[in-house]
């Protein structure tokens, strides 16, 4: 029965390859390795080098004409500096303000275990503490208040003695 079925199957003949495929293969074989790439792709897979080249040229021309300079200029540097004044600058700008208080809120403390600091006689326990500090000032003339709050992190080395 198998032979009979196999015989029936063998009577089916696959269609011949398309003339385009045969032609492409013959061209590749005839090329014989003289070209860089022997694969001849159909038109739909070809890169439009002319279009790509024109696009790149247009982009280069735009950059040249627009004179785009990505380096920071003196003007932008000054702007950046003046945008973030230091505390001294702020204090100078507010001569009547007087510090009235400092609050420290510890919100995380983590014991990182024993460490051996260079130059120390014995081991220490390193404790990392995360805090939020708030500084307050008061204007003595108008009574206005100013508060600045910022996170801080403190690492403390606590010497331990061996037992």
């Amino acid at each position: 029965m198998n032979e009979e079925l196999e015989s029936e199957l063998k009577k089916l003949r696959p269609v011949q390859p398309s003339p385009a495929l045969v032609s492409r293969i013959e061209r590749v074989l005839a090329d014989g390795g003289t070209s860089g790439s022997k694969v001849i792709w159909p038109e739909r897979f070809r890169v439009n080098w002319l279009g790509l080249g024109l696009g790149l040229a247009a982009a280069a021309t735009f950059l040249i004409l627009a004179r785009i300079d990505f380096r920071p200029t003196e003007k932008t540097k000054q702007t950046n500096v003046s945008a973030t004044p230091s505390l001294q600058q702020r204090a100078a700008a507010l001569p009547n303000y007087q510090a009235t208080g400092l609050t420290q809120v510890v919100y995380r403390q983590h014991d990182e275990g024993l460490v051996f600091p260079p130059g120390a006689e014995g081991p220490s326990r390193r404790v990392r503490t995360a805090k939020r500090e708030t500084l307050r000032w008061r204007d003595q003339q108008s009574g206005a208040q100013l508060a600045v709050s910022y996170p801080t992190e403190e690492v403390t080395l606590i010497p331990v003695s061996g037992q």
Partner: protein, 163 residues
């Protein structure tokens, strides 16, 4: 393996194998144009590597690999292939020449086989590969290849009765 085949040998080789190769490629890509591309890419790749013209297992492995590469090339295309393949699996038949009613029924039955059985049948019947070559091309054991072939024939027998 040193390849001493001439240009004419490769042409003859391609003309002999092309119908079976295209049929084999169409197990994965149902579009004849895609099958042509797959066969071209695989054949040229095989030829460029100077592999022995007689090593058909590697040639079929190259076709299979090229077909899978084509499907994976982009996700949208893969999804579309899977959708088309899923819908077409039971309706689109492999391309055979001059089918009568009985042969059309046989092809329809063949088309309903699981893909792993069908590819072994295609390689064995229309490409005349040995089980050793099929096993090498598909990366399976010879016993598995032979089993898939037997299961494929058995499944065909259930749905097709020779007249």
């Amino acid at each position: 393996m040193e390849n001493v085949a001439t240009h004419e040998d490769w042409k003859v080789c391609f003309s002999e194998l092309a119908p079976g190769l295209v049929l084999f490629a169409r197990q994965w890509v149902r579009s004849p144009a895609d099958a042509d591309d797959v066969v071209q890419e695989a054949f040229v790749r095989f030829w460029r590597r100077n592999l022995s013209i007689k090593n058909r297992a590697l040639l079929y492995a190259a076709v299979r690999s090229a077909a899978l590469d084509l499907i994976r090339r982009d996700n949208r295309r893969a999804r579309r292939e899977v959708e088309v393949f899923g819908e077409a699996e039971r309706t689109v038949q492999p391309q055979f020449e001059q089918l009568d009613d009985s042969q059309r029924a046989l092809v329809a039955a063949l088309d309903r086989l699981p893909r792993d059985q069908r590819e072994v049948l295609v390689m064995k019947i229309w490409n005349e590969l040995t089980f050793a070559e099929i096993a090498e091309a598909l990366g399976i054991s010879q016993n598995t290849a032979a089993s898939r072939y037997r299961y494929g024939l058995a499944a065909l027998k259930k749905t097709f009765q020779p007249q």
